[in-house]
Subunit: 370 residues, 2 copies
């Protein structure tokens, strides 16, 4: 990072089904918490970036930058970013460049999604906007279907069993029990995952992150310091359509973004104490651990076979148990890594967020200096 | 501007009804032209920013950053920005910060919209995403309705006549006759505007910019120089809902962005030789000229009563005659101002693009140094 940029405020709603709240209410709640937790006032915010994927289609509301700006008394300049499920982390990346450019000193970043107001089939169709409409959606694929293909191929290549894969969601649910912001605070055993309804073979219902409403917000500053600063922010892109991929069992955009992030931070994977990674489906968590450099190909599941791991993985509960209000996820991950570092006293944590089947990948590294 | 940032490549499709082309085809055509016109190769592009408003809803395609990145052989990092009809200029602003931050040296910016694949009622509903869904759309307003209120109030306050207002679209159509990229290259007389179908009193069909398909692309560089550099880039935000505005006959976000842009460039309005401004509806052109500092309140129409003006206004034909594929407009304006400066040999030109009823406003000032 060219500039010293700190995380000086953060807040979120619980991720849940918020039928009584609108997209503006969710943003307001997260923003108020973020400002209250920071050393600045609302008037010190000089730019607002809103991450959102589905508002135009599901909530009849685009132009969320200006809507969010109106939550503040002085209506600072604002814009919206989108990169499917990576919208939140791409907003963080955009905010960091704005701060590094010197055009702003305190940027409010908000991720919000209100998904539960429409039917399951409508939300499934809307989410397919993250895939390639001409090449993947047109043949009838859904996102569970795309990741089902990935899981089936991974099992074929590496011998991963159904029983092993079930360890992933069980662990994430166990971790979420103590997270007050998690959608599901219930422990589940691996057998429940294996026995849950079949969604897209081999993936079962409890392999899939849920449909959620929620917002997360943070304030990044080049003017004010805090114990948590950004050590790296990297984005990488791959083909959106699976039809253009030479293989399905690894996501090169994760590898590329992670390698560049380690280089930017001047560290190695072994320096990372906490990871929040993008487990939209259980198989993704296994592959991400390999792509991020923490396990050899085919060995990611070992993290879930051990009771305690270094680094910790999705100690928050991840997307599966915390919920996945799409664009809020990338920001909520930053909040969770920050909290974990402050509790453990460790130095480095990593947030990994992707859109589509690993087509846009962002890796952020946070550094804790008490 | 902290860095010297130049416009080193540009290209666009004709704005039209492109029923035989998809959103990817339109982007590809504009991107190929932009790269061909530049001193660099595709491989030199290190970031892609796509402006788009309606893809998720109208084309079933979000995640357009990654889709666009795949048009290039090395798939550089990418993201999408959105701020309703100001999506294009907000993408330029984002690209400039990315360049100023030092994170990129050559950024490809693409604006694209494919609007004609759905019915008029569906596109009208989708466009209302630029307004406030809870406060403006819920009561049945459309965008022509919102600007109809603005026009009616302006006529009441300042005595603007229907015959005077008709001069605006007539001038824009006259200007477009020689623009090969314009959707409507036909001259129309003011009487035709006055006699066209009533859409939202007092606005007639020929007061309204059309529904269009198209893409525009440009390459901004901090590494390579060109005769056209960015002298200022400013964004300002107002309430999205008209219910929160103290008056309707001026858009404070335009005034604020313009004042800050003149200050950033170190110039005055009288230094500007060419303007491309956001004439989504004829009345907007009149008000924008006042808000940008070129006419006193109530006097903007004088620009259309004179045959030749300094500065020139919408010499391209503007949104009315060039077409308005929403997110492509803000980028196409930059391309037009650049061309006009290179033809006239003048020094400064201004592009003004807004979203909603002036809720997000961007002003860019280009400097020509032959």
């Amino acid at each position: 990072m060219r500039e010293q940029i700190s995380l000086i405020g953060s807040g979120q709603t619980r991720f849940s089904e918020w039928w009584g709240k609108g997209i503006r209410d969710l943003m307001d709640e997260a923003v108020t918490s973020a400002i209250d937790s920071s050393p600045i006032t609302a008037l010190d915010i000089d730019f607002v970036i809103v991450a959102n994927m589905l508002g135009e289609r599901v909530n009849d509301q685009a132009h969320l930058g200006a809507i969010a700006s109106s939550l503040l008394p002085h209506r600072p300049p604002a814009l919206r970013t989108e990169a499917a499920c990576a919208s939140g982390s791409i907003a963080i990346h955009t905010a960091l460049s704005l701060l590094e450019s010197g055009r702003a000193e305190n940027v409010l970043v908000i991720g919000v999604e209100k998904m539960t107001d429409v039917s399951t089939s409508e939300i499934a169709a809307a989410l397919m906007g993250a895939a390639d409409a001409e090449r993947d959606a047109a043949c009838g694929m859904t996102f569970p279907g795309l990741f089902g293909l990935v899981a089936r191929r991974y099992m074929h290549d590496y011998g991963l069993t159904r029983a092993q894969l079930s360890l992933v969601s069980a662990r994430h649910h166990r971790n979420a029990v103590s997270n007050p912001f998690a959608q599901f605070k219930s422990a589940i055993d691996p057998e429940s995952v294996t026995e849950s309804s079949l969604v897209a073979d081999p993936l079962r219902l409890l392999d899939c992150s849920p449909v959620s409403d929620g917002a997360a917000a943070c304030i990044l500053s080049s003017k004010h310091a805090s114990p948590i600063r950004f050590a790296a922010s990297q984005v990488s892109t791959d083909s959106v359509s699976l039809t253009e991929r030479p293989f399905l069992t690894s996501f090169p955009a994760t590898k590329d973004a992670a390698e560049r992030a380690y280089e930017e931070a001047g560290i190695r994977p072994t320096d990372i104490a906490h990871i929040e990674l993008h487990d939209c489906f259980s198989i993704a968590a296994v592959i991400n651990l390999e792509d991020l450099g923490f396990a050899d190909p085919g060995r990611g599941i070992t993290f879930y076979e051990e009771q305690e791991t270094t680094p910790t993985v999705n100690a928050s509960g991840g997307l599966k148990a915390c919920g996945h209000p799409v664009a809020a996820t990338g920001i909520k991950q930053i909040l969770d890594v920050s909290k974990q570092l402050q509790v453990s006293g460790q130095r480095y944590g990593l947030a990994h967020n992707f859109g589509g089947v690993g087509a846009t990948c962002c890796v952020h590294i946070l550094e804790h200096t008490p």
